[in-house]
């Protein structure tokens, strides 16, 4: 055999260093997409090692293998159906018990596995010593201590994984022994299942049937409804015996087993003085210092990104516009030249000058905050505010991203748990003024009316976000959810992982946004050179001139804003022949124009991001709603402000 192939899956809790191991192993040979039809991310990569071509799939970070979240369902199905040659279970040595709870469930799936006992350094810092050899003996699974951020133990992990596959033992891993009442009934069920072929192993099915697992109830019910009904009866018996639901009983017993193993293999010598990580945690979640640090960090982040972005964006655009003579030289100044330069190239430039200066630094900072653990502290502090919009603290994170760019922010809503929350968070996020909106707000209102007016518009937008978020929360059916989140120990993030994560996000952004920006830019230029834009201005004038009180030409520029919002201002300057807007717009018109431009539509790339995760229908609904809403607000503002002045 020439080509030896292996399929390895990485599984484990969130924040255990799984992605660090994944990035260490696969480097830049990875691909991030979605699980088919799901808003759950799927990261895959390849590497060559000891003559093997190894495909690695990084499963989502989860705490259990029930079907209460999409992530859990996806992971469980993947392991059972795709049958990876081996699963590497990444375990956080500093929270051994809870991680073993997951390990035991993987073992119930009867998948071949090895354990990476990761974050040994953090465990040590917390005064936890783990006897990995004893753990290996108890679990009968190879255990390799690792410190992924330093690359310690990773090669050995891979070797052990390959060794385990090559040995190909058919022995079942040892199983959690539940209490007598449960075991007896599991036995009954397994016996009844004899001869029935199913994707999951019989004991696993029996366990899940007793726990009342929805997916397995349904799927197995189609094959053997009698077994399911027996299971329901048995589960009822256990509930009566214990006074708790059967699922609660079994989870408790599984945790008890995990606790036993953890106690037998770890020694605790808590440090006498609180560690610096602990003190940092206290400071960043404190009712005074916590918020002070939060506000300061956010201001510092935005200030530095906008300063850096503005500078680099200008530099890049000067540089790229310097190419124009070459293009006009090659394609002439006729229609073709205009289409090539003004259509394709300007679209490309528009994309480049937003990605490099704004999105790259934004992602780097975001991943730094996430990997260090600060994002979960932010969610902790902001939970209360977000609850007013039917969301919980974690939703603050995509909103924060939205100030940079709505596209990654909408994609970032995947971190929310339920479909409803993902949609609500994405809706709220599209209303957040992104960097491009900031250009309009500062460039028009800020420059000509004063900074206080620009701030007022920002505040007004925040009020609108809050009000519409609350409205959406009341209108969209479903229950409000709660924050249940782990706050892992602070740690210094792994630089290479941050850069790799940033790189893949940026690549995703380019893939989603660039084709649309370029095609859109081309289409607009085509409309422009064919003279269709003037008709558009005429058609839109009842709205722009009569209702909003703006010059007719704004109808055209607002359409350009669909590509990239600040283009609506840039185009306005171009079409009016001056960037001294005070000459051509009244103060009221400036405010109205800014309000409309800020609210009226998510840009084309944001719409694409919405479509990717929520489908056409919901995306078009959000888009339509926001256009109508912006026009409504703009018209009201026009009338009110005219009255006042």
């Amino acid at each position: 055999m020439n080509e030896k192939k292996l399929l390895i899956a990485l599984a484990g809790n969130a924040n255990v260093g799984k992605s660090v191991i994944f990035n260490y192993l696969t480097g830049l040979h990875q691909h991030i997409g979605n699980w088919p039809g799901k808003t759950v991310e799927r990261a895959e990569g390849t590497l060559r090692f000891r003559g093997y071509t190894i495909d690695i799939v990084d499963l989502p970070g989860i705490y259990s293998l029930s079907t209460y979240s999409l992530e859990e369902l996806v992971s469980r199905k993947y392991i059972a159906v795709e049958r990876p040659d081996i699963v590497i279970n990444v375990v956080d040595a500093s929270v051994l018990e809870r991680n073993l709870f997951f390990t035991l469930q993987l073992m119930e799936l009867e998948t071949p596995m090895v354990i990476a006992l990761n974050q040994m350094d953090i465990a040590k810092g917390k005064g936890i010593q783990i006897d990995s050899a004893a753990l290996e003996t108890m679990l009968e699974v190879p255990v390799i201590p690792t410190v992924a951020v330093k690359g310690v133990g990773i090669d050995k992990l891979l070797e052990k994984a390959i060794e385990a596959v090559e040995k190909g033992s058919n022995e079942k891993p040892p199983q959690v022994m539940y209490g007598e009442e449960v075991e007896k009934r599991l036995g009954v069920l397994v016996k009844k299942m004899k001869g029935i072929q199913f994707v999951y192993p019989p004991r696993y099915v029996a366990i899940k049937l007793l726990e009342g697992d929805k997916e397995i109830d349904q799927e197995f019910g189609r094959i053997a409804p009698d077994v399911v009904s027996v299971a329901k009866k048995l589960a009822g018996e256990i509930e009566r015996l214990h006074g708790h639901g059967c699922s609660t009983v079994m989870t408790s017993e599984r945790y008890e087993a995990a606790g036993c193993i953890a106690r037998a293999t770890q020694k605790l010598v808590p440090p006498i003085k609180p560690t610096s990580e602990e003190r940092l945690h206290d400071l960043t979640t404190h009712k005074v210092t916590g918020y002070a640090i939060l506000i300061f960090s956010l201001l510092a982040i935005f200030y530095s990104i906008f300063t850096f972005g503005d500078f680099t964006s200008g530099l890049l655009s000067d540089l790229l516009y310097g190419l124009e003579p070459f293009f006009t030289g090659a394609f002439g100044t006729g229609i073709i030249g205009a289409l090539v330069w003004g259509g394709i190239m300007e679209g490309l430039i528009a994309g480049i000058t937003i990605v490099l200066p704004y999105i790259v630094p934004f992602y780097i900072i975001l991943f730094f905050l996430e990997n260090s653990g600060y994002l979960s502290r932010i969610a902790f502090l902001m939970d209360n505010v977000m609850h007013k919009m039917g969301l919980h603290g974690k939703a603050f994170i995509p909103m924060m991203l939205g100030f940079g760019c709505n596209v990654p922010a909408c994609l970032g809503c995947r971190i929310m748990e339920t479909k409803r929350e993902k949609l609500l968070a994405a809706f709220v996020t599209t209303l957040v003024p992104c960097a491009a909106c900031t250009v309009i707000i500062l460039g028009l209102v800020g420059r000509f009316l004063g900074l206080q007016w620009a701030l007022a518009i920002y505040l007004f937008d925040l009020v609108i976000i809050f009000a519409l978020g609350r409205l959406a929360f009341k209108v969209v059916p479903g229950e409000s959810t709660a924050l249940i989140m782990e706050m892992h120990t602070y740690r210094w993030p792994h630089a290479k992982t941050i850069l790799q994560q940033t790189w893949f996000r940026v690549a995703e952004f380019i893939k989603i946004a660039f084709p649309l920006i370029i095609v859109g830019s081309f289409a607009l230029k085509l409309a422009d050179v064919s003279g269709a834009l003037e008709n558009v201005a005429a058609v839109l004038s009842p709205i722009t001139v009569v209702w909003l009180g703006l010059p007719a030409i704004t109808g055209v520029t607002l359409i350009f804003g669909v590509l990239r919002k600040e283009l609506s201002l840039v185009m306005l300057g171009a079409l009016l022949g001056t960037t001294n807007f005070a000459l051509v717009l009244s103060p009221v018109q400036m405010v109205v124009f800014t309000l409309v431009a800020m609210l009226y539509i998510p840009c084309i790339a944001t719409i694409a991001a919405l479509v990717k995760d929520f489908g056409w229908k919901k995306s078009l609904f959000i888009t339509g709603f926001e256009i109508a809403f912006a026009i409504l607000v703009g018209g009201i503002a026009f009338r009110l402000l005219t009255l006042l002045t």
Binding site: S66, L96, E97, G478, E486
Partner: protein
């Protein structure tokens, strides 16, 4: 949901002050999404009989930070009000 308690000392987790501990007696969640969150809490280790220590309450009625099985969790106040514990005597 009634909050009358048959056992002595049984209180909602929200009634514990900073530094106080208790043993989980039940998580009372209704139907629908409440069940999902109950399951999530169980999966995070809040099974009956488990010791829980309140580390901190976020300001302005925010979430509660607890220590359970050696890990640190933030639980929204609404959900924390549905977790009942037997308060440990000092």
């Amino acid at each position: 949901m009634k909050r009358e308690n048959s056992k002595k000392n049984e209180v909602a987790l929200t009634a514990l002050r900073k530094g106080e501990a208790g043993t989980v007696s039940s998580v009372r969640a209704g139907q629908g999404i409440g069940r999902v969150f109950k399951k999530r809490l169980l999966d995070m280790g809040l099974t009956p009989g488990t010791k829980v220590t309140v580390v901190k309450s976020a300001p302005f009625h925010g979430p509660i930070e607890i220590n359970v099985r050696g890990s640190r969790l933030a639980v929204g106040r609404g959900m924390a009000g549905r977790i009942f514990v037997e308060k440990e005597k000092k």
